[in-house]
Amino acid sequence: MIEPHAAGAATLATPPVAAAAAAAPDAPGVEALVDTFIAAHPGGHERLIPLLHLLQERLGHVPFEAQDVVADRLGLTPIQVFSVLSFYHFFTLTPRGRYPLKVCMGTACFVRHATRLIETIQDTLGIDVGDCTPDRLFSLEQVRCLGACGLAPAVMVGQDVHGNLDTKAMRRLITQLRSQGRREAVAAAKETPRG
């Protein structure tokens, strides 16, 4: 396994606390989240992975601070928590973009040229696999089969699967998401009361 180390190294360079604050300004407190979960699910160490799923879902990533809380409540050492977290691709140490682009690299997508989609995204957004754009709008990931092989090549954005994409459709999708992101940002700014 090479990735976990690479991911770990990347996070040490960017302070996770600042990143967490930027990603989810009104995220519920990690401690409250963990304690509520523990109270609702009596049990032992088998609760670790469900708990990490909860944090990943709510915070968009699982920073070291959150891992410490989990370790404390489950009676594990922080390194035990990190060893499990780093084993699974699903958990990340850095926040993802608002639109996480997960390009399927399953066999069916691969033979229908999913590599070209990755290149198109890299070209258009100037980011590599595993990175996030500076405005935190997009992040790029490569995933192993979305199980949408009938729609190959497919890209998952959040919970939506976009299928049968070619390079042109991919560029169109990015443009569309970008303007959607801008609209939402404007709408959010309007809603926030001034002063």
Binding site: I49, H53, R144, G147
Partner: protein, 634 residues
């Protein structure tokens, strides 16, 4: 997604209730399987496919539009919209079936939806030109008669695309939970075990171990605390069978597990589902809640003394967790690393207790076998592989989707008749069966009957059932490199043959795709492959070299062309390609020059551009950048 929160009726069901619901609801469900041509004034069900593929083609919005149109046309008492699980033909997404006429409409958009409501539902006149048809040799077949549907035999997928996955009553209407009631009240665990053994059902997760034997081991294992696990960690890229069953018919898995719980003496079960399948998790979760509220799961199953309950465990993206001991470690909250067997999970599994672990598709096969008997099931298939197998058909085939066929059918029939042949005009080259653990069956050998042993003899495996159809434009060396890269990434790192051996193999194959290989590299590769096969700890490592071995066996000339001639016949290995700009197509838009990272492309705006072969790094960025297809590779 598909489910608005549904109120779950909390009345525990007894056996009598099952019979009542079945009697009340059965005609409506059977009508969905019928092909009765237009009858005036009949009450119709509009089945909108809400399988994973169709949902991403906005089929839930389509279903809402149907509801709206039907209400607006005042047809509410004559037509109902039902969102069902995967109908199989993902190619035609979003797919709609109007019952009881049995008319399929492929690729339905809003305007076709309007026509279906105004013409088919209101006027009883099916729209012939929009119906799903298949034409071959001048003969036109429609809807259920198209080869894609007509050639299938559905056991595990019996309810997929027919029942509403969010409706327990729908499942009960088609004999659901009848097998469980039979097992609890009318027969003995030994008799069930005997039926299962005589049926010849083998594990559908890949290895094909006889299911009855596995159940017996767990039943005979010492200890009061035993567990049942459903392996839904369908990690093979190119496979989506388990996903569709969990999304389309979750109760069939619950019933199979509950039966096993009673037979082997387990009171608790876990369903391990991939995190990549949110819809499957949602629908299975709903089904478990519903079953619990109806007294099918819980302390008193169907009012008897038996207790059984289920919990979902969500995977977190590790391919190796498909291996049973790794999956068990993951359920326990640890790194998903396998351990040596024996002891097998049947003796010491979850928390060291006897554990029965089967794949989703295997579980879905259990209740039909209990209900219809061993002889019926054993009558389907070949001498050693009984019943049916679900395959996920993808790649360069016309009808991508999910198919269930009797064992023993040939690969060629699956690809040509059911799959409709190759989608592009290039010739059929091979079928990749079984994902990264599997191998490639070349077109010449495609008449092989599909069963565990025949596929193995060709160097492929049944695997969990992914079939990727490849045409001539696919480079086998590059495909092998892709699989190796996947396996290197997914190797858990516990045993050196897999951790180091696969990395060395990948390095060698990469050298070949870059034209840097030496002649003896093929022998080194083959030697390594044999070693890794023999000495790896778990199934991942033991089957990892299959991709190399099978392509070297069947496509050796292609490997040799890469090494001797430094040429990639399929034009996929970029380092071996040279690029040129087609003068007739180039309009001088400068996109390629901007994309080039090595300044190898020169040319003025609106003038012909040229590539300097000496500066070119073969990255292929210009090909992707060009909108007119003017950059060609040789």
């Amino acid at each position: 997604m598909a489910s608005a929160p549904v109120t779950i009726t909390a009345a525990p069901l007894g056996v009598g209730d099952l019979a009542r619901i079945r009697a009340e609801r059965r005609p409506r469900l059977e009508a969905r399987l019928a092909s009765l041509r237009p009858e005036r004034g009949v009450v119709r069900d509009v089945l909108v496919c809400a399988g994973g593929g169709c949902v991403s083609c906005r089929s839930t919005t389509l279903a809402a539009e149907f509801e709206r149109l039907i209400a607006a046309s005042g047809l509410s008492d004559r037509a109902r919209v039902v969102q069902v699980g995967c109908m199989g033909l993902c190619e035609a997404a979003p797919l709609v079936l109007v019952a009881p006429d049995g008319v399929y409409y492929p690729r339905v958009d809003f305007s076709l939806a309007r026509r279906i409501v105004t013409e088919h539902l209101a006027e009883d006149a099916p729209i012939g030109e929009a119906e799903l048809t298949h034409e071959r040799d001048g003969e036109v077949r429609r809807s259920r008669d198209v080869p894609f549907f007509a050639r299938q035999l559905k056991i595990a997928l019996r309810n997929c695309g027919v029942v509403d996955p969010l409706s327990l009553d729908d499942y009960i209407a088609l004999d659901g939970y009848q097998a469980l009631a039979h097992v609890l009240l009318e027969t003995t665990p030994d008799a069930v075990l005997d039926t299962l053994k005589r049926s010849g059902l083998r594990g559908r997760g890949g290895a094909g171990f006889p299911a009855g034997l596995k159940w017996q081991f767990v039943r005979e294992a010492a200890g009061d605390e035993k567990y049942i696990i459903c392996n839904g960690d369908e990690g093979d890229p190119g496979a989506f069978m388990d996903r569709s069953i969990l999304e389309g018919d979750p109760h069939s898995v619950i019933e199979g597990m509950a039966i096993a719980g009673h037979v082997v003496g387990a009171r608790r079960g876990y369903v391990y589902v991939r995190a990549e399948y949110p819809l499957a998790i949602e629908r299975l979760g709903h089904a478990i809640l519903e079953a619990r509220a109806a007294g099918i799961l819980g302390a008193r199953v169907l009012g008897t003394e038996a207790a059984f309950d289920l919990e979902i465990r969500i995977g977190a993206g590790a391919f190796v967790c498909g291996e049973e001991t790794a999956l068990i470690a993951s359920v326990e909250g640890k790194r998903g690393m396998p351990r040596p067997r024996p002891p097998f999970p049947a003796q010491a599994g979850l928390w060291g207790r006897p554990t029965l672990i089967n794949n989703v598709e295997t579980w879905a096969n259990v209740s039909p076998i209990v209900l219809r008997g061993a002889a019926w099931f054993a009558g389907i298939g070949t001498a050693r592989s009984k019943g049916t197998k679900v395959f996920a058909l993808a790649g360069d085939v016309r009808n991508t989707g999910l198919v269930e066929v009797p064992m023993g059918i040939s690969l060629r029939e699956i690809v040509h008749d059911i799959g409709g042949g190759i989608r592009s005009d290039q010739p059929f080259k091979a079928v990749q069966a079984g994902g990264p653990s599997g191998g490639c069956v070349p077109a010449e050998a495609a008449d092989v009957p599909v069963d565990y042993e025949s596929l193995q003899s060709l160097g492929a495996v049944m695997g969990s059932g992914g079939l990727i159809v490849l045409h001539e434009g696919t480079c086998m060396v590059e495909l092998t490199r892709f699989f190796l890269e996947f396996l290197v990434d997914e190797s858990c790192g516990k045993c050196p043959p897999c951790r180091i051996g696969l990395r060395v193999m990948l390095n060698l194959v990469e050298r070949i795709t870059k034209g840097l290989a030496a002649l003896e590299d093929l022998d080194t590769l083959m030697g390594l492959a044999r070693h890794i096969q023999r000495s790896s700890l778990c199934g991942l490592g033991q089957t990892a070299p299959n991709a190399v071995i099978s392509t070297l066996e069947h496509f050796r000339d292609e490997w040799e062309t890469h090494i001797y001639d430094r040429r990639c016949p399929a034009l996929q290995c970029r380092a071996l390609l040279t690029y040129e700009i087609n003068e007739a197509l180039c309009n001088g838009c400068t996109l390629c020059a901007k994309a080039c990272t090595s300044n190898a492309i020169t040319g003025e705006l609106k003038q012909l551009h040229r590539i300097d072969a000496l500066l070119c790094t073969h990255c292929g960025a210009c090909v992707t950048a060009c909108n007119r297809g003017a950059v060609v590779a040789h």
